[in-house]
Symmetry: C2
Subunit: 721 residues, 2 copies
């Protein structure tokens, strides 16, 4: 089998929303959904921009979709030949993961359309398409080529209107409603046939209508060059886009494609994981790495990765803890400059986190649960819509999921341990850690008549149980955060002037003894026969099976969590919680303890989040439960191949690609199967290869050096490259 | 108009559940619902016992209904003449509030039935009925008279079966499922006509079938004497009941009725409030006083009053804060021995409150939100059923409505201030106060980096907003509790040996400085332009009208509160909360402040609880808003005349009588319109008579002396009687 591609035969408009995700092309700057060239909003076509957000009225803020400048629509003798409208005789579409190339082969009556397109990894603003028509019958072809404004917007429209400019390159300029950000798209063509050309300006876009008489057997090719720019990167984005696509046309499609391929080869050279022994698994892991690599910010120094990548506007295009906990490790070990960008995003958005803490009456940094630009909180108080009453439901993700700040600290600290690079701490990272610790200091619940300190009214990773007390994950991660803050003093305290100044400037000297006190007083986890209670009172909840809980649903789209949800009052959890803690801090727990907890919690976990299976798989590897690890690896790595994962939370669409699972697949392979870990600044391996595999190889950067890991059935090696 | 009775013409089975409440007869030991003699469970017949509870399987615990020993069913020529089955030509039923006499006059074709019955206020186990039949056509009458076990049980059955015994008095013995309490009923008859008698034992009871040929115009009378006893009062309750009803038969109906009437006259002599100027209002106030007096515990020293009195099993027959805050004042000022019983109930159930606190991880006394015998918590974690999914909803009344302990303390302290009687404090009251204060000490949320102490995650009186922080009512009542505990030391500290021993025994010396610290650090209310914020964040909630919120309902029976309820995320509140505080602690607030809060909160209050209007009315009196006070008084006093009040909370029936409103009506008249208050151990008045009234008179016991209050349009007086 081809371990480097995904192919689908036939076309079903009902699957268009999912296919748009699975066949995504992206380059970190923008994502082009895997819809055919002729698609509009009906088939969920979109070009989603990274880091550009807009809010329309009272609707949710979300990322902005650029006008679709790769739009093409074919007519034969005046009749449209378009997927979704015209039943094709045959249709096949394919995504090449190796080089991010989307291709199609559609046999309409009487034209066969073949195309290839990509979002350039060599030049972030560029998109290109080569569109070939083979005519089976004499007649006349019309090609509508231009820039479509018929966009799939969940909470749009996001533009105040469009400004159309004709010319050798068509241009569309638009300005966002909320902040007046200019978004421009340009398109130009190169055809190998003579046409009559007519310009059409319509509400849904600016188009050239190219008409040409054709003969049976004739083949016509058009190359489309498009560019998208915004005023966030520079002045006059429309002109920049115009020049960019005209330059690309000069070079031609092949040359642009070559530069794009080369860029992808560089990415694979430092990140490719090769699995042998199971073709499907190898393909799924390639898919995961493709999807994560294609949305990584490469054009900017301080962007991060949204929870659904660039596959659309789901989850408001916001950055969750997914970025730090699930996406970051692959980059730390393969492309640390991208890891830095993810972390710099948190450093840059510290003011937003300080503001959020203040709004809730706390000091320090409380990071946004759904972070948009500047750290603005995208999560609303009503993040689910009830399927029975169609009313928004008060949820507490925004205000109680306080582990987010500790997750950021964890990522910063782990980055510095893994890479040995402490500059990021000096460049704002230390300040973030100290402010997060300060937040937890002010959020702690102490008592008048006992020393213990609780964290009450929180939500842990398992979001089905809202507003719980002493979530074991949260408390332990808070301890990690406090310890990191105190460690900063050990590491930099006496030696670095910048650190002393920082403490002074932050008026932090008086916090340090309080942090030490908090460390000593923080409530540790309660256990029962070695099993950590996920939160106070968890064991007293109804202990029933996942099937029993599922059977209580009255509507497939029901939200499971909260006081009204079927899971909220039972021990069924959405995702790894205690086990996530054990996966993140493996050294804090003994094997026996991990095993007891694995056995208890795994059957009680719905894995209703794409963040779950990976954590269980990592601990399964540790425990030698390799069949379980394999099953969970397949589930994790396959999610954006099969299009799995939940599509709805109440009445809210939550589909898209799954960067956290994509990163999780790498983590299972590298940290789980190969057992990669850092020990005294050096990487080492602890191979645990499932029976289904014969070999596993991948490159690693650790401590500033390059290594190659090679695991076989007989053992493994990690050698300098 | 007759200000002493309620009358209804016609019969509508659809109104039977409400009429059963409105026409209730009771004597504090048991309540006989106002259903016709021939009614079974279909017409919601029940004889609800005070303080006898049972739980069947996993269903809710609730009070036990005794077998109905006043059961009578009439047949003419073999055909039943029964309301609900036979359409009467005329029907009229009446409740005489003065003497608790239920009467009916039903014209069937061809028999007119007239009866009078009562639950004896002179002898708590006794019930009697005089049933007169006037025959309009020759034929044969059969009377089925006996003890029916066809009971309206919400969560029953509560008996393991029935043991039937024939004899001059029929007897039915039953034993409760959970605790094996024996409940016995006996019935005997006296007829003025000769009959053929046949005994019938059926699943639904033990009956005599009395058959008699009749002539047109003939009048037959049967007197029914019944008794109910349980093993909670003494051994062999069946024999006690048998003797009790046989003795009553010897005395005859008239003599029994006279003793009953006399007992009621004694009650009215010390409690009757006379209103002049508005007949309906006078009648409603009599109704309120009747309903409260008839369920007052008079046969025991340590019983209290359930939230729906003895009108059925609603709210599990449990004692809420209604008893202390709303029912208690009338008794304190008219029948202090009953007030003592209510308070002794809390003293006796202290072990239950200590146990509940321990279960939640706290020290001290956390009283049950819905208190059953021994202080057992009747409130479940799932106290509402969702109307859309029919699933139980997790509610937080049980675990977060912590003001209950402070309410108990408030009542104990106010009792001792109003009556001057401090013996109750010595006899356990002081211990209760100290344990409640200890509970709040352990429930306080302190911080590591600031001195302020919060009470987080609570529910105030307004139950629509669950799990809020720093509810102003709760915090202030907690302060009252702490201050009361500290005052005990002032009052008894040096002088009373018992108090010193108590502190020692309770290991309380170390708590006192902590309590002083808590007093100083407790978070006071936040205000905005003089309006107290009900809880942290209340002002940030959606501020919309009551009508707007009501318009969002999708089902009339929907529960309004919690995260899914239409009110939970708005500023619409269920009942007085800040205003309840101002009504309970009037001296803690200035008039101007009270007025601002009244104006802000009243339009935002649904008055969805019978506890609401009274609190607003009391503060309206203070502010001279007498038209508002009058409107709210009518609403409060009329509730059990009109059968108003909510009938449903989700899918749970919550109808019944409203003792809190009944007590509230007295409070508005006496504390509001007359402005009765204690000042330096003496009662004084501050008359504020609404325009609708010309005179208001009532007796008062205060400081151990009797007084008469007389308010007219020209002023008022309070004079020793």
């Amino acid at each position: 089998m081809d371990v480097w591609s995904l192919e689908k035969c036939g076309f079903d408009a009902g699957e268009a929303v999912g296919d748009g995700n699975r066949f995504l092309c992206a380059n970190g700057y923008m994502g082009l959904r895997g819809a055919p060239e002729e698609a509009g909003r009906d088939l969920y076509a979109a070009v989603t921009l990274a880091g550009v957000y807009d809010r329309n009225g009272q609707a949710w803020r979300e990322p902005v979709n650029a006008p679709n400048a790769l739009y093409l629509r074919l007519f034969f003798n005046g009749k449209a030949l378009a997927l979704g409208e015209t039943r094709p005789i045959k249709h096949r579409q394919r995504l090449d993961y190796r080089c991010g190339l989307f291709s199609r082969d559609t046999l309409f009556d009487p034209v066969r359309v073949e195309s290839e397109r990509f979002v350039s990894m060599a030049e972030h603003s560029l998109l290109a398409d080569r569109y070939r028509m083979q005519v089976i019958q004499d007649g006349e072809i019309t090609l509508q080529a231009g820039i479509s404004t018929d966009l799939w917007d969940i909470n749009g429209p996001h533009f105040k209107g469009f400004d159309f400019r004709p010319g050798p390159a068509l241009q569309v300029r638009a300005v966002t409603c909320e902040k007046g950000i200019e978004v421009a798209a340009a398109q130009c063509l190169r055809t190998d046939f003579e046409t009559l050309e007519r310009l059409e300006q319509r509400p849904e876009g600016l188009f050239r209508m190219l008409t040409c008489p054709v003969k049976k057997g004739q083949i016509l090719t058009v190359e489309v060059f498009a560019a998208v720019c915004t005023s966030q990167e520079g002045k006059d984005p429309a002109e920049t886009a115009r020049q960019s696509c005209l330059r690309a046309r000069e070079r031609g499609f092949e040359e642009c494609l070559k530069a794009h391929r080369d860029a992808w080869e560089d990415i694979w050279a430092c990140s490719e994981v090769t699995l042998e022994g199971n073709g499907e698994a190898a393909r799924d892991l390639h898919a995961s790495q493709y999807h994560l690599n294609c949305i990584a910010p490469r054009h900017a120094q301080d962007l991060s990765i949204p929870a659904r990548g660039l596959s659309g506007q789901t989850y408001k295009g916001a950055i969750f803890w997914d970025a730090e906990i699930f996406c970051l490790p692959m980059f730390v070990f393969t492309q640390p400059e991208i890891a830095r960008s993810l972390l710099r995003y948190r450093i840059e958005t510290l003011p937003g986190a300080l503001k959020k803490a203040r709004e809730y009456g706390y000091r320090g940094a409380f990071y946004a649960w759904e972070s948009q630009e500047g750290g603005q909180e995208g999560c609303t108080d009503f993040n689910v819509v009830d399927v029975f009453t169609h009313r928004p439901v008060r949820t507490y993700f925004r205000d109680r999921q306080i582990h987010i700040s500790a997750d950021v600290v964890y990522a910063l600290w782990q980055y510095s341990v893994w890479t040995g690079d402490r500059t990021l701490l000096e460049e704002g990272g230390a300040r973030v850690i100290l402010e997060c610790a300060r937040f937890y200091l002010s959020r702690a619940n102490a008592h008048l008549d006992r020393t213990e300190v609780d964290y009450a009214d929180v939500i842990g990773p398992d979001e089905y149980h809202e507003r719980v007390c002493n979530n074991a994950f949260t408390n332990r991660m808070i301890l990690y955060c406090i310890e990191s803050a105190l460690s900063l003093r050990e590491v930099f305290g006496d030696k670095k002037a910048w650190f002393s100044s920082l403490l002074k400037e932050m008026d932090y000297e008086r916090e340090l003894p309080l942090l030490e006190e908090l460390c000593g007083r923080l409530r540790g986890p309660k256990t029962r026969e070695g099993v950590i209670e996920q939160f106070d009172g968890y064991f007293a909840l109804e202990d029933c099976s996942l099937d029993a809980v599922r059977a209580r649903l009255r509507d497939d789209r029901e939200y499971w969590g909260g006081d009204h949800g079927v899971a909220g009052t039972t021990q069924i959890i959405k995702q790894a919680d205690v086990l996530a803690l054990m996966a993140l801090l493996p050294e804090a727990f003994e094997d026996e303890e991990v095993e007891k907890n694995w056995q208890y919690y795994e059957p009680r976990t719905e894995h209703g989040s794409s963040l779950s299976a990976c954590m269980y798989a990592l601990t399964a590897c540790r425990l030698g439960l390799l069949d379980e690890a394999w099953r969970l690896f397949r589930r994790t790595a396959g999610i954006d191949v099969t299009g799995g994962g939940k599509q709805w939370a109440g009445e809210i669409y939550i589909g898209g690609t799954h960067p956290a699972s994509n990163g999780g697949a790498w983590m299972i392979a590298a940290l789980g199967f190969a057992g990669l870990r850092m020990s005294n600044g050096r990487p080492e391996i602890h191979p645990r290869l499932p029976d289904q595999l014969t070999r596993l190889t991948f490159p690693v950067i650790a401590g500033g050096k390059k290594w190659t890991v090679d695991i076989t059935r007989d053992g493994g090696s990690i050698l300098p490259s």
